[in-house]
């Protein structure tokens, strides 16, 4: 069971309080009707599925009930950092 630092609660909390919510920083297009079918499919379905550092969203469902972003290594499952919704996308150190 992972231990996740909720950026709102500022505490390490057990994974079962959280709900994984998919890749992060995929904003819903402001004007979906302007998008081609391909662009819309890209928004809906295409995911980076990164092996390595992965931007992802979590919901502290049984906690503060907030969605937040995280950068996590999908090989070691270790979190690099977590940050609040609205904060800039975390840079991946090369």
């Amino acid at each position: 069971m992972l231990l996740i630092k909720c950026p709102y609660c500022q505490e390490d909390r057990p994974e079962i309080e959280f709900s994984y919510s998919g890749e992060a920083h995929i904003a819903r297009p402001l004007n979906p009707d302007d998008l081609s079918d391909e662009e819309w499919a890209e928004y809906l379905f295409i995911r980076s599925n990164r092996r390595g550092l992965h931007h992802e969203r979590w919901l502290h469902a049984h906690g503060c009930a907030r969605f937040f972003n995280a950068l996590r290594d999908t090989v070691s499952d270790k979190f690099e950092l977590t940050y609040k919704m609205g904060e800039p996308k975390a840079q991946v150190k090369k």
């Binding site: 994974e15 980076s48 999908t74």
Partner: protein, 416 residues
């Protein structure tokens, strides 16, 4: 050397010292007609069918670890084809047709056991959904029958059909022709049969890049052991498919999740068939060695770690003991994790890609093993003919743009 009781006997007299290599470890050639990336059952099978059915023998299978070390060797070996949609029924039933007779075809006993798969219904909604499957299967010529709770118990005596259970069993769908097979043997058997037809099997050789020419078409793969040329590349790499597609500059609708499974200590025969409960998330059979083989759920997050969590195991065993209270005193011997690649509609992608010469077979999620011979055959067909077989044509990448998804799980939506 042909395997048979006779060859076993002959070799016994010579102290088993004369058995030849099942497949030689090949040294990569400069180039091949076709390279298959991924030495699991699907990839090795594709190489075999390329050689056997299409006469293309200048083929290499490139595996980063050892053959069958990915999901082929990590799954719970359930084989069935009682799917709802025509597309699914066709592709999985094609696989079951090939399973039946595979041992004889490749002269390697893969121990396909048609012991029957029972799928349990726990609610009125489940019953409706299963009936829909059964009726559709019947008209598609796919074996699937409804059993009452009592009939289900007669078929599988350890089932608890008490009406007071948390998830009472209202009945079950039985596919008698479904069952299990010995997972490692599938990989080894295909490897041996493919090698006998001239296919090169290259282990411990990770692909690090896919080279594309000026016209965009593939030219070969970069590997830990140097560049290997090929005009056609088939990628059959399960959990690592996204990583390989990215090497060719493609982004795919895939996510990879940890999936665990476990076995109990071996005991004398107690489970005559395979039992699945989708609402309780329990998947169980007993191996020929006596171990209960149990499939667990996926962890919730994307991961390549092949490491699952304890709470998933707890939940899985609670589910098993809910349906089989008899097994509560059994003991877990071993648990392990695999990486499953899942598409948005949980159906595979099997066919051509936007890159000329690059073919893909991925997205089987938790259901890849049962499809092994079918997927292998269809991948080989698609590569050989440069166009999909009618059975795998619907499993294209374009469906995500157009919206013609093949979503079996969506049929299980619960509301009211």
């Amino acid at each position: 050397m042909k395997y048979s009781a006779l060859s076993l006997l002959t070799n016994a007299f010579s102290g088993h010292k004369k058995w030849p290599l099942q497949w030689p470890d090949a040294t990569p050639k400069k180039s091949y007609d076709v390279i298959i990336v991924g030495g699991g059952g699907h990839g090795l099978g594709a190489a075999y069918y390329l050689a056997r059915k299409h006469g293309i023998t200048n083929v290499a299978v490139i595996e980063k670890g050892w053959l069958g070390g990915g999901n082929t060797g990590r799954n719970t070996t359930i084989i069935r084809s009682n799917y709802l949609y025509d597309e699914s029924a066709r592709i999985y039933d094609h696989a079951v047709d090939l399973w039946d007779g595979l041992s004889q075809e490749i002269n390697y006993n893969v121990m396909f056991s048609k012991r029957g798969v029972l799928m349990l219904a726990h609610s009125v909604h489940d019953v409706q959904s299963f009936q829909r499957h059964i009726h559709a299967n019947r008209l598609n010529g796919v074996d699937n029958n409804w059993l009452s709770a009592e009939e289900a118990k007669a078929f599988c005596p350890p089932l608890n059909i008490s009406k007071d259970a948390r998830y009472p069993i209202l009945g079950a769908a039985l596919q008698q022709r479904a069952g299990t097979a010995r997972h490692d043997s599938v990989a080894w058997g295909y490897a041996r049969a493919a090698a006998a037809l001239g296919v090169d099997i290259i282990q411990n050789c990770a692909v690090t890049g896919i080279k594309r020419g000026a016209n965009g078409a593939v030219e070969g793969v970069e590997t830990e052991r140097g560049f290997i040329g090929a005009k056609k590349i088939g990628v059959s790499a399960a959990g690592n498919s996204s990583v390989l597609m990215e090497m060719a500059g493609l982004r795919f609708p895939l996510e990879s999740y940890p999936l665990q499974a476990l076995v109990s200590e071996p005991v004398k025969p107690v489970m005559p068939c395979v039992v699945m409960s989708n609402s309780v998330h329990a998947y169980i059979s007993q191996s020929d060695k006596g171990e209960l083989v149990i499939g667990a759920g996926t962890d919730q997050y994307v991961s390549y770690s092949q490491r699952g969590a304890l709470h998933i195991i707890e939940e899985t065993l609670a589910s098993i003991c809910e349906i089989f209270p008899l097994f509560k005193r059994m003991r877990m011997l071993r648990s392990w994790g695999g990486v499953v690649d899942v598409t948005p509609d949980r159906s595979p992608i099997l066919g051509k890609t936007p890159v000329p010469g690059l073919f893909v077979n991925c997205g089987w999620g938790t259901g890849g093993f049962k499809a092994t011979p079918g997927a292998a055959d269809l991948l080989a067909h698609t590569i050989a003919k440069d166009q999909p077989h009618p059975i795998n044509a619907p499993y294209n990448l374009e469906r995500f743009t157009g919206g013609r998804l093949i979503d079996e799980a969506a049929a299980a939506a619960v509301a009211h």
